[in-house]
């Protein structure tokens, strides 16, 4: 199994320990994590990479914004 697949497998198992508010978003959370890690493959500077991570987080925030306060 490739490291990426192992990472996905382990993260999928660990996502069950996330707060209940994410119960509908387990797959999304894992995909989000994969996206965050993937930002490093683009050869960006630290600042640019973090801005990209922020953008990923913001995008997901907009999706779950209604759930997060519950």
């Amino acid at each position: 199994m490739s490291p990426d697949r192992q990472f996905t497998t382990v993260a999928t198992a660990q996502v069950l320990n996330c707060p209940k508010r994410y119960s509908e978003y387990h797959t999304d959370l894992v995909n989000l994590l994969v996206k965050v890690v993937a930002t490093q493959a683009e050869g960006l500077s630290d600042g640019k990479r973090r801005a990209e991570v922020l953008a990923i987080v913001e995008a997901f925030g907009n999706v779950v914004i209604t759930k997060i306060r519950e």
Binding site: R5, Q6, L32, L54, V57, V64
Partner: protein, 714 residues
């Protein structure tokens, strides 16, 4: 990433060398046969230079001239390495071509002038090869991280050094580095840091919008985070320092033990003192025994023993004289008595002046002369009679001269033996003492105790920092809860809160995933490495006296070799060369397998120090085609004819491509044919391990039962 081909021009003696690498799944092995001095290392360096530039070369080779030593001075030479490789992702593969070019002008005395090295990375598309946008170095580094080049490209000695040479600390660093990079753990750590950065940013923004109270809480949280980061870093530094100290301590201990294996200087000194004392006692006893001997020899008993028969004859004479009453003589006393009484025993008058008296006085004078001799005889007789009796009694009681002499002589000889033995022992010990460098022992003892003190000090610091860190984390957790409660109560943008919470939760998720992966990966690598290593060294652990019981990769990233009886073997000192190679190769292979990375493993002269079963099993293990769903891999071995010997059939089964490198410098001593070239170069031909041709034929090829291939493609 899999190598497909390489074209090397003007790199050292590789004037124009094309190589092809096997990309077949079932035949993962590429063999490049080459004898010593035939360009193996140059090919390895050319590939490293082509992929990574001068920084890719080993430190010692970065500043040396890359052009041939035969290249004319002052004439610029274009060095070029083209590496073709494919990148495999799932079932798809993409072909790439790296072209690195540089001008180098030899200046004489091995100096040179170099131009900028130019690098292009091209990707095969439907319309041919096209430049890949962006920095080619970054893309290549992504495919084949340069810090792992020692895993992908190595020579036999490096393979050995990976495991040993710089103590446990160096090994742990190399192993950890390889695991982090190959298993992608670094990427997760960076992602975690990025998410923490996003969390802080969102929190700061939220606090700024909510007012002073939340801002104060945010600042407190940020401050605690900083403190945790600093303490964590300090802890890591102290741990690293402690590891270095431990390495130094172990090395000093090892050296000291080796020195002391000659003998403990203090123990030797004590032994010498004891022996000197014994020797003095033995020498004193020697004198006493000599004295006893002298006394015995001068004794009457000695005379009886030595001249007994003669003495007995004399005694018989005396005995007879006594029997006849000759001795002791009593006439003197009678004559004196008669003269005093003035009357002879015959009643004759012995008055003064009488004739009879004069006659008796004359007789007395004569008798006195005889009596002196007789007195001696009488005395001798008595003395002899007593001496003989004493001698006979001594013989009876075994205290006679002969028995005494026997005893003294035995004691004397035994004592002399002891003196001799003690003297010899003393000499050996004194030589031993002389061979121990006292100064070195003292220096090592100081270094050891210093390292022990520093180790204890570092351990104490680690304990203190760990406690401190736990307390800070506890405070951080409380502050975070306080902040979140305050955040809920405050009028903070819902989006900001959501962003912060998402980033925070993602960070927790990646941290947990990383922890699981790290433990899990290490365990998997450990199990696979153990299987492979034990398979290569051919140890049956159930067998009594088996040296290796197994190898383990510890959670601290050290490789531990387990020996019989719960003991451990130090890979630096207690594992032989072939086993070190087997261990490193097992680690690299296990790591590659667990990581699922498709990358070439190129090893120059890997089979040095190996022979027989170990050699066969090693090659079998490192060239075995992948089973089931395991990813394909590629192994390129640079082998000499003697390394190939005994494993030809195995290579035949596994090899996908083979070529042979030769250098015309070896003509006429080793090479059979002269090439049409007047300067030293390395050529490649398509000969397999079973063949020879006009380019590569060597004088002792008969011994390897090679067959002529005919012609050459060099």
């Amino acid at each position: 990433m899999r190598l497909v081909a390489a074209h090397i021009r003007n790199f050292k003696l590789l004037e124009d060398v094309r190589l092809e690498f096997s990309t077949e799944r079932d035949r993962p092995l590429t063999v490049i046969r080459a004898e010593n001095g035939s360009g193996k290392t140059s090919v390895l360096y050319a590939l490293l230079w082509g992929l990574y530039g001068p920084q890719g070369l080993p430190s010692g080779a970065q500043t040396v001239r890359l052009t041939s030593s035969a290249a004319p001075v002052g004439v610029p030479v274009e060095i070029q390495v083209i590496v073709e490789f494919e990148r495999v992702e799932g079932d798809e593969s993409t072909s790439y071509r790296v072209i690195r070019t540089m001008l180098e002008t030899p200046k004489g005395n091995d100096s040179f002038e170099r131009g900028q090295n130019r690098l292009r990375l091209l990707k095969r598309t439907t319309s041919g090869f096209e430049d890949v946008p962006g920095d080619p170095n970054t893309v290549i580094a992504k495919f084949l991280p340069p810090r792992l080049k020692s895993v992908f490209f190595t020579d036999g000695d490096d393979v050995q050094r990976f495991i040993s040479g710089e103590g446990m600390h160096g090994r742990q660093e190399r192993v950890h580095e390889a695991i982090k990079a190959l298993l992608g753990l670094d990427k997760m750590r960076i992602a975690s840091e990025d998410l923490e950065h996003v969390v802080s940013k969102c929190r700061r923004e939220a606090a700024q919008s909510a007012g002073a109270d939340l801002e104060a809480l945010e600042r407190r949280l940020a401050e605690l985070s900083d403190q945790i980061g600093r303490t964590d870093q300090e802890l890591a530094t102290v741990r690293t320092r402690r590891q270095a100290i431990a390495s130094d301590r172990d090395a000093a201990q090892k050296e000291l033990t080796e020195l002391r294996s000659i003998g403990d200087i203090d123990a030797i000194n004590a032994q010498i003192k004891r022996l000197e004392h014994s020797l003095a006692e033995f020498e004193e006893r020697d004198q006493t025994l000599l004295e006893d001997m002298r006394t015995a020899i001068s004794s009457q008993s000695a005379s009886w023993a030595l001249a007994g028969s003669k003495l007995l004859a004399g005694f018989d004479v005396l005995d007879k004289l006594a029997g006849r009453g000759v001795i002791p003589g009593a006439s003197l006393e009678v004559l004196v008595d008669r003269l005093d009484l003035k009357k002879c025993i015959c009643n004759a008058d012995l008055s003064d002046g009488s004739t009879a008296r004069r006659n008796v006085e004359q007789l007395l004078a004569e008798q006195r002369k005889v009596s002196e001799h007789r007195g001696h005889q009488t005395q001798t007789f008595h003395s002899a009679r007593l001496g003989r009796a004493e001698y006979l009694a001594a013989c009876e009681g075994k205290t006679d001269f002969v028995s005494q002499r026997k005893r003294v002589l035995a004691a004397f000889a035994a004592n002399r033996d002891k003196i001799k033995q003690t003297g010899a022992d003393l000499e050996v010990l004194r030589e031993k003492r002389a061979s121990i460098d006292d100064e070195q022992v003292r220096r090592l003892t100081d270094r050891l105790s210093n390292a022990q003190a520093k180790f204890a000090e570092a351990s104490e610091s680690i304990g203190r920092l760990e406690t401190q860190l736990a307390a800070l984390r506890e405070r951080h957790s409380l502050a975070k809860a306080e902040y979140e409660t305050a955040e809920k109560a405050a009028k903070v943008s819902k989006l900001l809160v959501t962003k912060r919470a998402v980033a925070d939760d993602l960070k927790q998720l990646i941290t947990r995933t990383l922890q699981v992966l790290e433990v899990d990966h290490v365990r998997q690598v450990s199990v696979r490495m153990n299987d492979m290593f034990m398979g290569i060294v051919g140890t049956d652990t159930a067998q009594a006296g088996a040296v290796f019981q197994g190898v383990t990769l510890t959670p601290e990233f050290d490789i531990v070799v387990r020996a019989a009886g719960e003991g451990q073997l130090d890979p630096d000192f207690e594992v032989n060369g072939a086993s070190k190679r087997a261990l490193t190769l097992s680690f690299i292979w296990a790591l590659m397998e667990v990581s699922g990375q498709v990358a070439p493993r190129i090893i120059d002269t890997p089979l040095g120090m190996t022979s027989g079963g170990v050699k066969t099993r090693m090659v079998d293990a490192i060239t075995r085609p992948p089973q089931g769903n395991s990813p394909a891999y590629q192994v390129v071995l640079f082998l000499t004819r003697s390394e190939i010997s005994e494993i030809e059939s195995l290579i035949d089964d596994r090899v996908g491509k083979s070529q042979t490198l030769s250098c015309n410098n070896h003509y006429p001593v080793d090479l059979v044919h002269k090439w049409d070239c007047d300067h030293p170069i390395v050529r490649v031909c398509g000969c397999t391990i079973r063949q020879f041709c006009e380019v590569c034929e060597r004088r002792y090829d008969d011994a390897h039962s090679l067959v002529a291939r005919g012609g050459h493609n060099g």
